[in-house]
């Protein structure tokens, strides 16, 4: 007699975010994957490289999004060879959209594609369930994002520096982790610019000062 959670699909019920700044993007995600109510991985990395300069934040079915990211990484590698230069973020986002849209009936996948290229600098593209593609200065997704839309609307301002963006993303993801049962663990953060990626981890407790006041 197997427990209920062993029969459930593994999901990245999640909080993911990406913000453009002048010169690159800052991306963030929580680190919890769940199978029903069991936490199958508490230190998952949902910030997935498509190229050295382009990442995608994954939410939905872990299997679907991993397989699709692998496909997109393959196409972008191929494109780098055939075009002789790094693929643009816009191209990567459209490749991703093409797979997500054409297979929308069989997939449970929503992603944010974000990165830096020489043509347009830092860019964030949101691809929700269904396969719509929208470029936005700031995008958030996953189940945890529902709890922080008010916070995002109130605190986001265009033209932030990369440090301000990092604080903003780390605080937002931590707030979502606090309220969303499907999000948890650490906030993984990455900055992507012409010097590629630098990473940091923030424990949700780092923002306990803010969160304690709210409780």
């Amino acid at each position: 007699m197997l427990a209920d959670w062993t029969q459930q699909e593994v999901l990245t019920g999640t909080t993911i975010m990406a913000v453009e700044y002048n010169g690159g993007v800052v991306i963030g995600a929580d680190s919890r994957t769940s199978s029903g109510t069991y936490v199958t991985n508490r230190t998952q990395d949902k910030l997935t490289p498509l190229t050295e300069y382009i990442y995608c934040c994954r939410s939905g079915s872990a299997a679907d999004t991993q397989a699709i990211a692998d496909h997109v990484r393959y196409y972008l590698d191929f494109s780098r060879i055939s075009q002789g230069r790094e693929p643009t973020v816009r191209y990567a986002a459209h490749v991703m959209q093409s797979i997500l849209y054409n297979n929308r009936d069989n997939l449970s996948a929503a992603v944010i594609v974000a990165g830096w290229d020489e043509v347009n600098g830092g860019q964030v593209y949101c691809i929700p369930l269904g396969g719509l593609l929208v470029r936005q200065p700031m995008a958030a997704g996953g189940s945890g994002s529902t709890y922080i839309w008010g916070h995002l609307d109130a605190q986001f301002k265009p033209g932030m520096t990369d440090t301000e963006c990092q604080e903003f993303v780390a605080k937002s993801v931590s707030l979502a982790i606090k309220r969303d049962g499907s999000s948890g663990g650490v906030c993984r953060l990455a900055v992507i610019n012409r010097r590629r990626r630098t990473t940091a981890h923030y424990h949700a407790r780092r923002f306990a000062k803010v969160v304690r006041w709210l409780n």
């Binding site: 191929f78 490749v95 849209y101 009936d105 369930l129």
Partner: protein
């Protein structure tokens, strides 16, 4: 890259008989599979009315994710060419797909250099065939399109929905607009004795009044919109985003729910 995909979603018209649109989808290769197709990110109403020298169409710029007003700046109006515009409500991923195909067709027409461009009537007709075909495969494109423009020197306005139901009229609306606003638009036409008596200013203010009604009464409406004007004698213009003024002064008169 497109040849590497298992179902390329655009092929040039000469290569197959399907009017250049991929008729094969993942569902077709999986015929035993039951599926509930549902719209995910959606656009609300589109409104349009003819006037004496052309046609005007409006659509707000909101993409709703269920009840969440997630994407507040999505353009839903497509400028096809000087004489044709189209706007869609319903699933916005399907709208983006169709709009890409239409844009590619418009480029094809230019490449052929035979001096024939898409007219609103031909686009309306083609869209009807595509929508009806997808419906007949139980895999609809979940949209309602309004096509507007100039056809043979006259204003044109046509409607196509996800079932392939299509018709032409002097004023059109989709979604909630068809319930709340069609009456208002028809009144404006009646008062002017038909679209030939309607000026551009009156038509625009009638549409704005309708958008206001929708903003008050449709949970999924928004107060930022695009406007497309296709005059008979001049090229089509899509302008926006425009912001809708709303009047809440009546709220002062309401207090409690009981005496």
């Amino acid at each position: 890259f497109s040849s590497a995909m298992s179902a390329s979603f655009y092929t040039k018209p000469a290569n197959n008989g399907n009017a250049g649109v991929a008729m094969e989808t993942s569902w077709d290769s999986n015929p035993g599979r039951q599926r509930t197709l549902q719209p995910i990110t959606t656009g609300a109403s589109v409104l349009a009315i003819k006037y004496n020298a052309g046609v005007i169409m409006v659509a707000d710029t909101l993409g709703s994710y269920g009840s969440l007003a997630k994407f507040r700046s999505i353009p839903r109006v497509l400028r096809v060419n000087d004489a044709t515009v189209a706007a869609a409500s319903g699933d916005l991923a399907d709208m983006q797909f169709l709009n890409t195909v239409v844009e590619n067709h418009a480029i094809d027409e230019e490449i052929h250099e035979h001096g024939i461009a898409y007219s609103p009537a031909s686009l309306h007709s083609w869209l009807t065939r595509v929508m009806y075909n997808r419906r007949s495969r139980i895999n609809p494109l979940w949209n309602t399109y309004i096509v507007a423009g100039t056809e043979a020197g006259q204003p044109f306005l046509g409607y196509v929905n996800m079932l392939g139901v299509a018709f032409k009229e002097d004023c059109l609306a989709t979604g909630f607009g068809s319930h709340l606003c069609l009456g208002l638009l028809r009144e404006a036409l009646d008062a002017a004795g038909g679209y030939a008596g309607l000026t551009e200013e009156t038509a625009t203010s009638a549409l704005e009044a309708c958008l206001r009604v929708l903003y008050y009464r449709d949970c999924r409406a928004y107060n930022q919109y695009q406007l497309a004007n296709v005059p008979v004698a001049k090229p089509a213009q899509v302008s926006g985003p425009h912001f809708l003024q709303s009047d809440w002064s009546v709220a002062k008169l309401v207090k409690h729910y009981t005496e």
